[in-house]
């Protein structure tokens, strides 16, 4: 699966959790999920669980610690699909 496809899916999954919808228009791999998109930190876990379902992968607790940006998500998923 191409990284661009994964990124597209990641943004789609993130969308319902994003408080600053305007920030979605200029989303990039460097976009910080909590700070730029204003996703509630408690909801980040739901986002990662949605990645598990969408890509049929299993994500370890420790992996979540590395997730800060959209690029981190793409990298994490790319390693597991």
């Amino acid at each position: 699966m191409e990284a661009s496809e994964i990124q597209e899916q990641v943004v789609k999954i993130l969308t319902p959790y994003v408080k600053d919808q305007q920030a979605l228009a200029k989303v990039s791999l460097e976009t910080n999920i909590l700070e730029d998109l204003k996703v509630n930190s408690a909801r980040l876990v739901d986002v990662v669980l949605a990645f598990e379902d969408a890509f049929d992968i299993e994500i370890a607790d420790d992996d979540v610690d590395e997730v800060n940006t959209v690029g981190d998500c793409v990298r994490l998923i790319s390693e597991k699909v």
């Binding site: 408690a42 598990e52 299993e58 994500i59 610690d65």
Partner: protein
């Protein structure tokens, strides 16, 4: 046993340095316990005139749990005021108990912003078995706090956690607000046992800062063995949800009994 220090007396890694600092905090807190435990007990009993209904039964449950095994104990409680940890600590054991069994007095993870404003608050937090946390901080920082808490549990220290991740804004246990870190701790610390505590002041309608002077609290406890067939993050989330669900059940029983 290796000390984790290099030839210059410095810790060999940031993680080891943090562990060394935590162990130093534990030693200082324990050494000064004969001073601060009676002081804070007096403040709650006579200064604030708090009374806790159900404390005797809770203390029996907790003492039994702590005595029957050396396995770690994670105390998980509902959260309504900034001083819940004080009242819960007092409800779980008396002054004499904690002076004999200092490890039974739970560590707490207060939000740093609430206690970092003055030097004396920072000193208090240091003394009172606290590991401050920054809520909503980056994931690596959260992992560092969980690592410290896991170390304490492994040492046989009890730790108090609020699995909702903060004071309940609705005034009721929020089953949707289960912070996955609690489940992560339970799954990662071998043999970790969970003791759920529900505490509520009779005049506490919703969340707030400090319980009122003369407040009467009701308290109840329940041991829980969370189980999950899932691994990784999903397993941690499931365990956290089981714990919060138990607290919600205890809340329902509390209000049923009060009617």
């Amino acid at each position: 046993m290796a000390s984790g220090l290099d030839a210059g007396g410095r810790a060999a890694s940031p993680q080891l340095a943090e562990h060394e600092a935590l162990l130093r905090q534990l030693r200082i807190s324990r050494a000064l316990a004969p001073l601060w435990i009676p002081l804070f007990t007096a403040v709650m009993a006579w200064g604030m005139r708090w009374r806790i209904v159900g404390a005797a039964e809770l203390r029996q449950q907790y003492a039994r749990l702590r005595s029957e095994s050396d396995a770690p104990v994670l105390v998980c409680a509902n959260h309504l005021t900034m001083f819940d940890s004080f009242a819960i600590g007092w409800a779980l054991g008396g002054m004499g108990t904690y002076l004999r069994h200092f490890a039974w007095l739970p560590w707490n993870t207060p939000e740093e912003v609430n206690f970092a404003s003055t030097w004396w608050k920072r000193a208090l937090v240091y003394l009172l078995k606290c590991v401050p946390v920054k809520r909503g901080d980056d994931r690596a920082e959260v992992a560092r706090v969980l690592d410290k808490v896991a170390l304490l549990l492994g040492l046989g220290e009890s730790v108090l956690i609020f699995p909702e991740g903060g004071r309940s804004r609705s005034g009721r246990v929020d089953e949707e607000a289960a912070a996955y870190g609690v489940g992560r701790l339970v799954n990662h610390v071998p043999g970790c046992r969970v003791f759920c505590v529900y505490l509520r002041g009779r005049r506490q309608e919703t969340w707030g800062g400090s319980p009122r002077r003369g407040e009467i609290f009701d308290v109840r406890g329940s041991t829980l063995e969370p189980k999950t067939d899932h691994k990784g993050l999903r397993g941690s989330v499931e365990v956290s949800r089981q714990i919060v669900r138990r607290l919600a059940d205890m809340e329902r029983s509390h209000f049923d009994d009060r009617q």
